[in-house]
């Protein structure tokens, strides 16, 4: 195992018997959160770092579950000994959000009121509700104040929400490839993804868990749409160009020549559709769409950030068109106007939105340089 890996990790489960009220009304009587931790919590519990995951993410952010695991956690590029989120200094906590499908209470969990899976009846959380649940987890772990809360994309929205909702419980907020709210174009892509799922006959109005069929076609299509928007034109051009699949590998029924990008997307879609729950996908995209940082503050993002007491690092990627650098600049400008300490870098990268997951040299360097100031 390489020296920069957190090694073999195992998820843990925290059970909360206290009800959690969602912003939009419904209440979860009790719930479980699955999470992983990397590094050691120090005696004063001052070195806790919370990782907030993005749309299809989960608690397994770093290391491997077994020596045979083919792939490490989704943010292994950034978490580990000697990496920006250095586990020799920090106690890193990564959880699966409520409504997820990787172990935390969600649509595939049993609804105690009916004795069957929640399915489409699982209450729709907002980003703020996730943050409230994360605060419960912090209490459970004995962490009064995070050294840093860090997230990319939808995770960045959670990190910002932390800074407003629990200003005294967060010292540094790191917001990567995010926005204070989605644009119409962004919501449109999410709606296409949702339509793909909802129009799959196997979706069965969300009650597919009662039968044996799953809306895998719809979920695969949703993922394909999403995947295209996470990559840049240049990244796809350099990776696939107009190369054709070799004969014999093509799946097209009429055996017409097939571009490599087609089979790649189909592979991504089909992999995802067997590993992810359709109701969770709907719920996560809706939470993403509905997030609006400034809305509770009279639609004034500067006023919103005046609630924050922490320092900020904002990062964006040059070819990210789903969460473009301009959206990150809006965050930075609002923080400056609110007189909050902020650093910002726009990382030149060809990989589009996906860049935030990748080991890009300058990204890691800036990330690492910033985290040096985080005292523990």
């Amino acid at each position: 195992m390489d020296e920069h890996s957190v090694g073999i990790v195992a998820p843990q489960v925290a059970r909360f018997d206290k009800a959690l009220s969602f912003s939009d009304g419904p209440t979860l009587p009790n719930y479980e959160l699955v999470y992983e931790t990397y590094g050691e919590l120090n005696a004063s519990a001052s070195n806790g770092v919370l990782i907030c995951h993005a749309l299809s993410g989960h608690h397994h952010a770093a290391g491997r579950h077994s020596a045979e695991d083919r792939k490490p956690g989704w943010w292994d590029a950034c978490i580990g000994p000697g990496k920006p989120i250095d586990t020799r200094r920090f106690f890193v906590v990564s959880l699966n959000n409520l409504g997820g499908c990787h172990g935390s209470t969600g649509p595939t969990s049993i609804n105690p009121a009916t004795g069957e899976a929640w399915g489409p009846e699982f209450p729709q959380p907002r980003v703020e509700d996730w943050v409230d649940a994360q605060a419960q987890l912090a209490d459970h772990l004995g962490i009064d104040c995070w050294a840093a809360v860090i997230g990319g994309s939808l995770g960045g929205m959670q990190a910002m929400s932390w800074s407003l909702r629990y200003p005294e419980r967060i010292r540094h907020c790191i917001v990567i490839a995010a926005a204070t709210k989605l644009s119409a174009q962004n919501i449109a892509f999410n709606e296409i993804a949702r339509r793909a799922i909802l129009s799959d006959p196997n979706y069965a109005e969300g009650y597919y868990l009662r039968g044996s069929q799953r809306p895998t076609q719809g979920l695969a299509l949703a993922r394909m749409v999403g995947h295209v928007t996470y990559l840049s034109d240049d990244a796809m051009a350099s990776r696939f160009g107009r190369e054709l699949q070799e004969q014999g590998e093509t799946e097209a029924a009429n055996s017409a020549p097939e571009f490599q990008v087609e089979s790649y997307l189909r592979y991504q879609g089909s992999q995802f559709s067997t590993a992810f729950d359709a109701n969770t996908y709907l719920l996560m995209t809706r939470a993403l769409d509905r997030f609006d940082l400034a809305q509770p503050y009279g639609d004034d993002v500067v006023e919103a950030f005046r609630q924050a007491q922490c320092e900020f690092l904002v990062l964006s990627f040059s070819t990210d068109w789903r969460f473009s650098p301009a959206r990150s600049r809006e965050i930075v400008d609002a923080l400056v106007a609110a007189e909050r300490p902020v650093s910002y870098a726009e990382i030149a990268a060809d990989e589009g939105h996906d860049a935030f997951l990748l080991p890009i040299a300058r990204y890691l360097a800036v990330f690492d340089a910033y985290l040096q100031r985080v005292t523990i």
Binding site: R329, V332, V336, E339, S343, V366
Partner: protein, 196 residues
């Protein structure tokens, strides 16, 4: 530490909000933090410098001065500083106007092209000066808008910019006495404290 930076210190009040345009690796902001406990923000475009400055614990925003500063609200900083960058921007007069809009006071330093060495170099050799202070050739220099002390003060007069104070650096030890008396001829670096 560059001399001009230590000279600026006296115009910065303790705990002021300071914006440093073209802050480089954050050397000056770090000095201000230590000596004046300022709330500093730096603007920089060079990648390596940004990383270094962030690593110093400073607040640095990656931004191109030539793309404008309209994202900073009016009078949002006590002092806006630009040290040795005026000659490198596309529209120095516009940057100056923006500085004066954003800051209640501003400090600008620039190399004085009227220095006798520059004049001598140009008049005797007939070529653009290349020196220890300006080590670039004309075709690869980032310094695209050189001016003299007199040029700068003329611009201030035309634009109604108040000069609150000025200081001059003469290069070699002891030369600052000459520089203060005959700045346009003997100052290598000019330092201005200005406001609207």
């Amino acid at each position: 530490m560059r001399q001009d930076l230590t000279h600026i210190l006296r115009w910065i009040q303790p705990r002021a909000r300071v914006l440093d345009l073209g802050c480089g690796n954050g050397e000056f902001l770090a000095l201000l933090r230590k000596e004046r406990h300022v709330q500093g923000t730096g603007i920089e475009i060079d990648e390596a410098s940004i990383t270094e400055a962030i690593g110093r614990g400073l607040n640095i925003i990656e931004q191109d001065l030539d793309a404008g500063l309209s994202n900073f609200p009016d009078q949002s900083f006590d002092v806006v500083v630009m040290a040795h960058a005026l000659q490198a921007v596309h529209f120095p007069d516009q940057v100056l106007e923006e500085m004066l809009r954003i800051g209640r006071e501003c400090v600008v330093t620039f190399p004085n092209f009227g220095h006798w060495r520059c004049r001598l170099h140009l008049s005797t050799r007939g070529r653009m000066p290349v020196s220890r202070f300006m080590p670039y050739n004309w075709y690869d220099t980032p310094n695209i808008h050189f001016c003299t002390v007199r040029d700068f003060e003329t611009l201030c007069r035309h634009r109604g910019i108040r000069i609150l104070g000025r200081d001059m650096i003469g290069g070699e030890q002891g030369a600052s006495r000459f520089a203060r008396s005959w700045p346009n001829l003997f100052a290598t670096t000019a330092i201005y404290h200005i406001s609207r």
